[in-house]
């Protein structure tokens, strides 16, 4: 069973968003890290990059595969979690905490409301498995 914290919003591409005022932290879900396997490398964007909704902002690599990561919301990147460069395994061990990937100043603070709730994401997962 996947871990799906109640206080976050989710996308069908298996990203989570945590809203804090007009900033959103973004990472990938427990379901995604489990599907990827051991994460060995993360390719991240830079502070200042501007992203459109659903744009690929980087990639996560496991031993066997490469997966792009998409931002569910549009905005400007204000922080990048550089620690993940040294400890990519945090994506597997703590996908919702230590493994936040970027923080974005949202173009439209209301955008996260349109995303899936924890319950809706859980329902979505049962339909794809």
């Amino acid at each position: 069973m996947s871990n799906i914290p109640e206080n976050l919003r989710y996308s069908k591409d298996h990203e989570w968003v945590k809203v804090d005022g007009d900033t959103a932290a973004i990472g990938i879900t427990d379901y995604a890290q489990h599907a990827l396997g051991d994460v060995v490398y993360i390719d991240m964007p830079r502070v200042g990059d501007k992203l459109g909704a659903h744009e690929a902002f980087g990639s996560v690599e496991s031993v066997k595969a490469v997966s792009e990561i998409f931002t569910p919301i549009a905005g400007e990147i204000v922080e990048v979690n550089d620690a993940l460069n040294d400890t990519p395994e945090a994506v597997n061990n703590d996908p919702y905490g230590d493994a936040w990937m970027i923080k974005v100043k949202m173009d439209n603070p209301g955008d996260a409301d349109g995303m899936l709730s924890a319950e809706e994401y859980e329902e979505y997962l049962s339909s794809v498995e």
Binding site: G37, V40, Y41, E61, V63, K64, V66, N92
Partner: protein, 371 residues
């Protein structure tokens, strides 16, 4: 959901029970990794022990007075040099010197050889070998479905397997084998493997696979700290790559000669004619145009199979196998380069999804176990 069209080894249910993530590997339903994950399975094999289901490999018996000359005419290594109970690594080559498959040749006695071939090429190899039978006084048997094959690899492998057999494993030299019993089951016990660690490959009747597999897990203390771990195809690949071993379809193919792939050491031209020996002799005399090298990434990033390799702005070659190396904690790979650049220290760049990342040619094997 299992795909009904995929072939299954006798251990398919066990893989699922152990939490194996199943994938289609050349038409076989195989575990790419289990719950521990590829890195734990890889490191576990190097520091303790790993258990591998390799039952999908093919087994072909060649029996009769002409067995040795027949196989010697079709393969690159010198079968006449084997003694009873010895095996060697070899290649089946076509008329152009390209590799039809790489394989192990086991000599049981003067009239009895066992060829162990890759899973994805078993049918192709069988057709190739049978089509070359002339008046030779020998019989060919494709016994692939009759056998299971389980590999126990790692520094703890010998201690674990010794608990299940009266055969003195210490006395089996590397690339030698014997027949005996494992957990009371008739078996061929071979000191071979594809991981770069010490270990054994056990061949037995397919219907004994589940018994042997579970007994090895139990004897190896699966579930305990430092206990044996079942290891899937992902770990099998990272282990062989770190050890600089070739994988058919990547470093070897119908269009690649053993010389190009660095397998001159199993290509014994002085032994006499074999399929492709004329082409290989010509290639040796004229010199190679391209050569397989090992590289290590310098820039952050991972080179993957089939990525293009550049020197300056010129595309000069391609990656045959690229991956993270879990034990060495580097990103490594094998690639073909024009022979003039195939030197240790040569700087190259690799196109990784649009970005040119720096790498450097290094010696292989990347990893060698402490004896």
């Amino acid at each position: 959901m299992p795909d009904e069209n995929l072939k299954k080894t006798p251990l398919n249910e066990e893989h699922r029970r152990l939490g194996g993530k199943m994938v289609d590997f050349g038409g076989w339903d195989m575990p790419v990794q289990y719950t521990a994950g590829v890195i734990a399975e890889h490191l576990g094999t190097r520091t303790a022990s790993g258990l591998f289901d390799v039952s999908h490999m093919g087994e072909i018996w060649v029996e009769g007075p002409d067995a040795i000359p027949f196989v010697n005419r079709l393969t690159t290594n010198d079968v006449t040099k084997l003694v009873d109970g010895q095996a060697h690594y070899s290649a089946l080559t076509n008329e152009n010197g390209g590799v039809v498959d790489d394989l192990l040749v086991y000599r049981f006695d003067q009239d009895k050889l066992l060829l162990v071939v890759n899973a994805g090429t078993t049918d192709k190899d069988w057709d190739w070998i049978t089509s070359h039978k002339g008046d030779d006084n020998m019989a060919l048997t494709n016994a692939s479905a009759d056998y299971c094959q389980i590999a126990v690899q790692g520094p703890d492998a010998i201690a674990i397997l010794q608990k299940l057999t009266d055969t003195s494993l210490d006395e089996i030299k590397y690339y030698h084998f014997t027949t005996g019993h494992v957990d009371g089951v008739d078996a061929i016990i071979s000191r071979t493997g594809y991981t770069g660690e010490d270990g054994f490959e056990v061949y037995a009747d397919a219907d004994k696979a589940v018994q042997l597999w579970n007994k090895l897990l139990e004897t190896g203390n699966y579930g305990s700290e430092g206990g044996i771990l079942p290891a899937g195809l992902a770990a099998r690949n990272t282990l062989r790559l770190e050890s600089g071993m070739s994988l058919y379809g990547h470093e070897l193919s119908d269009e690649i000669t053993p010389f190009e792939a660095g397998l001159g050491w199993i290509t014994k031209l002085p032994k006499g004619d074999f399929t492709g020996s004329d082409a290989l002799t010509k290639q040796k005399d004229e010199g190679l145009k391209r050569k397989l090298i090992g590289f290590e990434m310098v820039d952050r990033g991972i080179a993957r199979d089939d990525f293009d390799v550049y020197i300056g702005d010129e595309k000069v070659g391609y990656v045959t196998s690229g991956s993270p190396a879990p034990f060495l904690k580097k990103n490594i790979g094998l690639a073909f380069l024009p022979v003039e650049f195939a030197n240790i220290g040569q700087e190259i760049t690799i196109d990784v999804r649009g970005k040119r990342l720096a790498a450097v040619v290094v010696p292989t094997p990347f990893y060698k176990r402490q004896k």
